[in-house]
Amino acid sequence: MRRFRLTPLRLAAGIAIGTLAFAGVAYAASLGLSSKKLHVWSQTQTKGTCNQTSTTAFDTYVQQGSPNSVAGGTATTLRIDGSTGAQDYAFIRFDLSGCGIPTTGGADSAALTVYVRTAGNDTISLYPVYTTWSESTLNWNGLGGLLIGTTATTSFSGATTGTKTVPVTADVDAAIKAGTLWGWELRTTGTDTVVLGSSENATAARRPSMTLSYEK
């Protein structure tokens, strides 16, 4: 048997063999990792704002004491009262169709602002409305035809006059996805009368408005 001698050529061959073996192991390892199926994708959102003023606002109030009256649709104020037999409910909504937000979009933030002209020691609660209504035709007798949320989204105190701003992001987000914002019914269980400025009010600062930031 011949004695093995380490020559420069044999040394180079050994290094080359080791390198290739290492590459093979790495290749096999990579095969092991890729044996899981994987699908990745991303979705980029566009941000925007679409603040609402009286131009796109619709509002009215209905009166239990005058169940056929539609006078609230053209009144300059909105009355809210919880007195038994003489309840008044206000309705406010905005037409968002000019915002160009698809139903796959959503609200990042939304806040409704109203102006309390006559204060009363009442808490005013906002209930989301899910079906269509018109300020020119809605009256007390028509309430039964509306689908209104059973839980108040938000509320504010009517105890002082001035501007009141409340968050309505969740409702507006849901309305964007539904295609139309039908707004809110504002009511109280208190027996004082709270009066808000309407979209027909002569003073612009007393009309309802809404800030809206969205994504699409």
Partner: protein, 128 residues
């Protein structure tokens, strides 16, 4: 010259053998019979599925909804990451796609407190 050719031949053969042995070992085949071939590994979908998200009244993301997830994706893991404009993660969540007929809507929750206003992109993955 002949000697050099012999050595190079040995090197080449040894290298190829080592790659094959290593690959077979990673596949768990050991000394059992080995057959070679190829197969296309396909996922349950190759589409970029559409997602929407819901918010609470404070504008924080409450859930992300991925629509039209194919039925073939049942039992796979769907993960979502909420990203800001720098593509930094603001929150993530994952869930197992349930069985359903037709296109499924998969809802992911548990992103933590993430303001929707800061979310400019969603990154998704489906893994088996």
């Amino acid at each position: 010259m002949k000697r050099l050719i012999n050595i190079l031949g040995v090197v080449l053969i040894a290298g190829l053998l080592s790659v094959g042995v290593a690959a077979a070992a990673s596949l768990g085949m050991g000394t059992a019979k080995l057959s070679a071939g190829s197969a296309v590994v396909t996922g349950c979908t190759s589409s970029a599925l559409t997602a929407t998200r819901n918010v609470d009244n404070n504008g924080n993301v409450t859930q992300v909804n991925v629509t039209n997830v194919p039925q073939a994706c049942a039992d796979e893991t769907l993960a979502a990451t909420l990203e800001n404009s720098s593509h930094t993660s603001l929150g993530n969540a994952s869930t197992t796609v349930g069985a359903c007929t037709g296109g499924c809507t998969v809802t992911l929750t548990g992103f933590g407190t993430v303001s929707a206003a800061n979310v400019t992109a969603y990154a998704f993955s489906l893994t088996q």
